[in-house]
Assembly symmetry: C2
Homo-oligomer: 361 residues x 2
């Protein structure tokens, strides 16, 4: 039985990448040692990381005025690093946060340690089923930055494009949709992502930082929380997570081979459509996100009651459909369908959903 | 040709561990997915981490009044976390540092951001070839803690036992000799180690924190820099480096199977003796560390000139002896012989050294 892993992160990685890691795990590039055993200061590893930067630029289209940083910790370390690095950009030491879910709120809570935070819009009243409309807002121009979460894994919503931020540097948590579609880097100040969804294994974050935003951390900023430390040391101020860097390299090569961001976007649209159509044709399942703001990465829905939910999850598991349980904070079902999830896996899930509805609904 | 990897870190891991990772990389425990693809919130992964804690207690003998934490970043993230968590223990906000090498100095430099730091002893004048004698010093009892580096990878020195710290909590950077010998936990306040030498892959640090030392970080401490966050969330406040945790689990099992810390210590003594005897019997090679303070983990020496050094390194490499180049800050040769390095590898190196001396010396 083929297993399809719908985990929200750590999530499945492309099978060709996983096979390559396994194949060369004891002997990387004929050196007789593993990539996880080689010095990060070796010429081979330095070349690997330089190549990874180059691959990231090719895939993402990010221009040269952005630094590509590989930071310790995941996105939640960025929740601290963003204010520590950016809040001092303007004398008001103020930042704006858009709350579209649990992680956006956590980012805001953490930022409150470092300056004045204004929540300019929140979807909490509507249980985060919709994204707030920022167009009618006048944003405080003394703010150092405005932060938003690109895709909300718990609630299954996603910005299809980023709002105009009226000249205030935009900081995007793109953990769950980085490299899933083409994007306009002109809108971005900082874009960051924990790796464990679309990039690679857990325990590392990529931060893509416009170079004029480097160097603004205060004198008490821990060395490895300062973007400038990473920028000045090619992300090797200390021993980095070499395994994750290596895996990211392979994932980026896979992306290029598959055709890049336009292909990823096309596939995402197709995979998501299959599931949303299944939801919309059903009176048994109910999607939780407003159709206008539905995520192409995480499809969330509920069943009529908890007993049916449990049955759904256990029968899905028996059919090789793994990790469909919704986040503990919201319940229900969540199917995470990042880049590595093949259309075939989504088809199996859609068929299973229809079958389950027929027999149990 | 068998390759022996003498890298200082990332370093070689036990071959049975590496083989097991490779074997089960695509299908962990029959789940049909990889351990790097499974949710850290899954019951299987939670059980793995609980087992890892238990294994660490068994191997290390650390008592229940210490918390076992798996922190983002390596030892250098601990250089910040230690003062951020501990300097507020006493009103003076002061800490004492013992400088025995490059990393000890970096730890001290970082701590200076957070309070008053006194260097109570330094080996810098003697180029760190000797460890300072702390017995004659009177330590400032208003200090929150005293920090020392257990083993100095660059200079090849190691404390055989930790000095009496006159009641001041002792913080030990044990990155390069953790779990290499039995130890007395009664002496310890905090012991931390980047994983990439004796524990597992890079990109994670273990911090073993006496429980009364938790909860003393200030209100502006970033959430993932606070030991209490890790302690209260079983090191899963956010998505951790799951691959490294898994590998650490396997390394600890290997340690137990091999016979534990006494066996590791015995082997280290034997491996180091072989190399130091080679140095002492030679007028060609010169050990850099004072014989009284020699490390069992990193054997450092120099050759008569740079040309011979280059020749030595290239001929060694041709003989499958990898990564013997000394740290860029000190030059010379460094053979790192942590737990996973088999005696056979050290024998090949000692033979090679003697042969090289005979033909080139």
């Amino acid at each position: 039985m083929t297993v399809y892993n719908f985990a929200a992160g750590p999530a499945m990685l492309p099978l060709p990448v996983m096979r390559q890691i396994q194949k060369e795990f004891l002997d990387w590039r004929g050196l007789g040692i593993s990539v996880i055993e080689i010095s990060h200061r070796s010429k081979e590893f330095i070349a690997l990381l330089a190549e990874t930067d180059e691959l990231f630029r090719q895939v993402s289209g990010v221009p040269e005025n952005f630094a590509i940083l590989y930071c310790h910790g995941g996105a939640q370390m960025q929740f601290s690093m963003v204010p520590m690095n950016l809040i001092g950009l303007r004398p008001a030491r103020k930042a704006l946060y858009v709350e579209t879910g649990n992680f956006a709120q956590r980012a805001r809570q953490e930022a409150e340690k470092f300056g004045e935070i204004e929540v300019v819009a929140s979807g909490e009243a509507g249980n985060f089923a919709r994204l707030p409309d920022l167009r009618s807002l006048t944003l405080d121009k003394t703010a150092s930055y405005i932060h938003l979460t690109s895709n909300n894994t718990l609630y299954g919503t996603q910005w299809t494009s980023y709002p105009d931020t009226q000249g205030i540097p935009l900081v995007v948590d793109a953990t769950s949709d980085i490299l899933s579609r083409p994007m306009d880097w002109n809108q971005i100040g900082v874009l960051y992502a924990g790796a464990q969804k679309n990039l690679g294994p857990a325990g590392i974050a990529m931060a893509i930082v416009r170079k004029d935003l480097l160097g603004h951390a205060g004198p008490h900023c821990p060395r490895l929380m300062d973007y400038q430390t990473y920028a000045q040391n090619q992300s090797m101020a200390n021993t980095p997570n070499t395994f994750a860097m290596y895996a990211i390299n392979l994932v980026l090569k896979w992306q290029l081979q598959e055709g890049g961001l336009k292909v990823m976007q096309q596939r995402s649209l197709e995979k998501a459509r299959l599931l949303y159509e299944t939801l919309d044709q059903s009176s048994f399942y109910q999607g939780t996100a407003d159709p206008q703001h539905r995520s192409l990465m995480n499809v969330t829905f509920v069943l009529p009651n908890e007993a049916l939910l449990e049955l759904f999850l256990s029968e899905a598991l028996a059919n090789g459909l793994v990790a469909l349980k919704g986040h503990r904070a919201v319940g229900g079902v969540r199917a995470s369908i990042y880049n590595p999830m093949p259309l075939a896996g989504v088809r199996v899930l859609a068929d299973f959903m229809q079958q389950f509805e027929k027999t149990r609904g």
